[in-house]
């Protein structure tokens, strides 16, 4: 059982973002501390836009975002201090080595140098990057780059980690390492919010799954609860997802 007396790790209410059409349309979402939450949905459903607003990379048109009890719109700096963001396209510096990259991130988050170095070395070791710690990232594969970005997200020990499609383009070995790091993080009390189009990953890893379509949360819960909402107890997550999205499309 999750401790409901604590503030939500992530609390989104009435979130709206319009581009030429509404991308996020009055979204409400709550994730508890220590929870692993997967956000799934069809292409263009508003998953990435939602997470980019949470990370402070996009300004919402309306709504509220609270991260670990901090109003992210009123005090973005304090909210960013406890959060990490990783996008599907790992953005790192080609001319820095993984260790130098982690030193830079530690500087941005004001982590004490000795603690940051110890943590950085532990993370690189954990992610299998220790032999490449002093190589410049320019020759790294996508999987290695994603792992460097993940180490960067974890070096300042965030309370909430927001990931947008972190497993896209990774080989099986790298994907397993990334999944294991994330699961470990959730087990240690951190909160992980992740979008994914790989439903198996959501099914296996997430405590709860949210299904988003047309910028709104159309269903949420454990796999069992979602099956219940779809009306079929023997459905896989894929069947459940497709049934719920189709139901929403008919209703719309």
């Amino acid at each position: 059982m999750k401790d409901t007396s604590k503030p939500f790790a992530l609390d989104i209410s009435g979130l709206v973002k319009r581009f030429d059409r509404p991308a996020v349309d009055g979204l409400d979402l709550r994730v508890q501390s220590g929870e692993f939450y997967a956000l799934v949905g069809p292409n263009g459903a508003g998953k990435t836009t939602t997470l980019r607003m949470v990370a402070g990379l996009l300004k919402p048109d309306a709504g509220a975002i609270t991260i670990a009890g901090i109003d992210a719109l009123a005090d973005p700096v304090a909210a960013k201090q406890v959060m990490a963001w990783i996008s599907d396209e790992p953005m790192i510096y080609d001319k820095l080595s993984p260790l130098e990259y982690l030193e830079f991130v530690a500087g941005l988050w004001r982590v004490e140098a000795a603690a940051a170095e110890a943590r950085a070395r532990e993370l690189l070791d954990w992610l299998g990057l220790a032999p490449h710690a002093h190589e410049r990232c320019e020759g790294f594969s996508k999987g290695m780059r994603q792992k460097v970005a993940l180490a960067g997200a974890l070096v300042h020990e965030p309370t909430v980690i927001i990931l947008d499609e972190p497993l896209t383009g990774l080989d099986a070995g790298s994907a397993r390492q990334v999944k294991s790091v994330l699961r470990e993080r959730a087990r240690a009390g951190g909160t992980v919010v992740m979008t994914t189009h790989i439903l198996e990953v959501a099914e296996r890893m997430a405590d709860r799954i949210g299904i988003i379509a047309s910028g709104r949360l159309i269903a949420e819960g454990t796999l069992e609860e979602l099956r219940g909402q779809a009306g079929k107890s023997d459905f896989t997550l894929e069947d459940t997802f497709l049934a719920l999205v189709a139901k929403e499309a008919v209703a719309a």
Partner: protein
């Protein structure tokens, strides 16, 4: 319609790509700007005609039997253009080796790479000649109007120069490739290209300073000293100049010689192009080991950002060469400073050159720091206010500019403290203005797109150039203690206000 996989078919494909690339560069990838780009191009051509008219209004027709001085001046001007053409052609050749947009497709197809690269070398020659024609055309037209149609022969010389420039560029790059390997060639070729482009201009200025005590290249070209040392008027060396002046026999010889050179370059090198391109592709996966740092150093976010900016710049020799190449143009004024020790007239040249160069350097560095951020999400999600990040990046730019210009400024301060103070103030304003313009027009891009940064906003490009010119003029007049300095200063402020008004609104600051 030509048959697939023939030379003409490839040529059609290459020209279509080149045309679309050029169009995209002119319109910054937005089709809606086509009319505006056409208008801007037409205005530029008209403006160039006006400049050509002003430059040539007092020039006398050397006729078909020119004297040695006329031949020296025409040849000097041609060599100036030719050095720039070789530089441009080398850039194109390097791009052909290292830009992978379609090489994988071409090299994996069952078609002889020789055909493709033959066409590509010809396209480079034409592209080089076309750019030169655009710049030289207005001058040729003014000469045709003033002295007759025989000056149209100059077009033939420009095209011939394009052909020889491409041939030479291919040969130079391939020689570099074989001598120092694909990894070093990329940087070396870029530096050689830039040095070739600048060397002749700078060389002429240095010669002018040493012999005539002036920065004017033309004073040197017209000097008796040079005329006395130049070959006799009957020498073959003057044939390109004679061809330009309308000697059709000379033009035929020059055209034949240059086309032969281009043909030879295609024959010798096109077959190897594919191998070199494959070798160049191999370096993308090469890894560079860094010497391990002793330990993590404590750093505030501001210091971490500054350190990161400088490290990235220091480790990218190509960017260093691109941003610092303009420092080469400081050599002649530095030489003037050294020779004119104690001569007040020197400052009228030196102060604006310093201010202009500082503004231009700051523009490039500011683009790298602000728009060329390779991990924008990471920096944007750091727990520091947005304004703080921008300030830290601007400090990085100011620091780098200060390091580059401090020695010259210190030397100037020893000779003339007041002028040094004016130069320092002018440089600071020019640097801040260039950085603000980059900030207002920031447009996230990869650092490797540094050379194409001007295409994202023409307004920003022109604002940066006009701002640097205005502050350079202000400093020049202020160094001479003239109140007229207020006029260009007002223009500089006006440029900044206009740039801010035209900039996108969603940026801080």
């Amino acid at each position: 319609m030509s048959a697939p996989a023939t030379l003409s078919w490839f040529a059609r494909h290459e020209f279509r790509l080149a045309w679309r690339d050029w169009l995209s560069m002119m319109t910054a990838g937005k089709a809606s700007r086509l009319r505006m780009a056409a208008l801007a191009l037409a205005s530029f051509v008209l403006f160039m005609h006006f400049i050509a008219f002003l430059a040539l209004r007092n020039v006398a027709d050397p006729g078909l039997s020119p004297g040695k001085t006329a031949l020296v001046v025409v040849t000097g001007c041609a060599l100036l253009s030719w050095s720039l053409m070789i530089s441009q052609a080398m850039e194109s050749v390097t791009r052909a080796f290292y830009t992978r947009s379609d090489l994988d497709l071409i090299l994996s197809s069952p078609i002889a790479a020789r055909k493709v690269f033959s066409v590509r070398i010809v396209t480079m020659a034409l592209g080089t000649a076309l750019m030169a024609t655009l710049l030289a055309g207005p001058f040729i037209h003014v000469l045709v109007i003033r002295f007759g149609a025989r000056w149209l022969a100059a077009y033939g010389v420009v095209v011939s120069m394009g052909a020889t420039a491409a041939a030479l560029a291919v040969a130079l790059t391939v020689v570099l490739f074989r001598a120092i390997g694909p990894k070093r060639t990329r940087l070396a070729a870029q530096i050689v290209a830039a040095v070739i482009g600048a060397a002749f201009v700078i060389g002429l200025q240095v010669a002018a300073i040493l012999s005539q005590d002036t920065l004017s290249r033309f004073a040197f070209l017209r000097s008796d000293t040079l005329a006395a040392r130049a070959p006799d008027v009957a020498s073959l060396m003057w044939w390109p100049a004679r061809a330009m002046l309308g000697d059709w026999q000379a033009l035929a010889a020059v055209a034949a010689a240059s086309l032969t050179m281009l043909g030879a370059a295609i024959f010798v090198f096109s077959g190897r192009f594919g191998e070199h391109a494959i070798a160049a592709a191999g370096i993308a996966n090469a890894r560079t080991k860094q010497a391990p740092a002793a330990a993590f150093r404590h750093a505030s976010p501001r210091r971490a950002l500054r350190r990161k900016e400088w490290t990235l710049l220091r480790r990218d020799p190509w960017l260093v060469s691109q941003t610092l190449m303009q420092i080469l143009y400081l050599l002649p004024p530095a030489l003037m400073l050294w020779r004119g020790y104690g001569d007040g007239g020197v400052f009228a040249v030196l102060v604006p050159v310093l201010v202009m160069a500082a503004g231009q350097l700051a523009g490039g560095l500011a683009w790298l720091a602000i728009s060329g951020e390779d991990a924008p999400d990471l920096v944007a999600t750091a727990p520091v206010p947005a304004g703080f990040l921008v300030r830290a990046k601007i400090e990085g730019v100011l620091g780098a500019v200060a390091i580059v210009f401090a020695p010259l400024l210190a030397a100037l301060a020893l000779i003339a403290p007041f002028q040094a103070l004016v130069a320092a103030a002018g440089m600071a304003i020019a640097v801040i203005a260039a950085t603000l313009i980059q900030l207002w027009f920031r447009n996230q891009a990869k650092r490797s797109h540094f050379r194409r940064r001007h295409t994202s906003s023409r307004v920003a490009t022109f604002a940066e150039a006009f701002s640097s010119i205005a502050w350079a003029a202000t400093a020049a007049l202020a160094a001479g203690e003239s109140l007229l300095a207020l006029m260009p200063a007002a223009i500089g402020v006006g440029v900044l206000i206009a740039a801010r008004a035209l900039s996108p609104r969603d940026v801080p600051g």
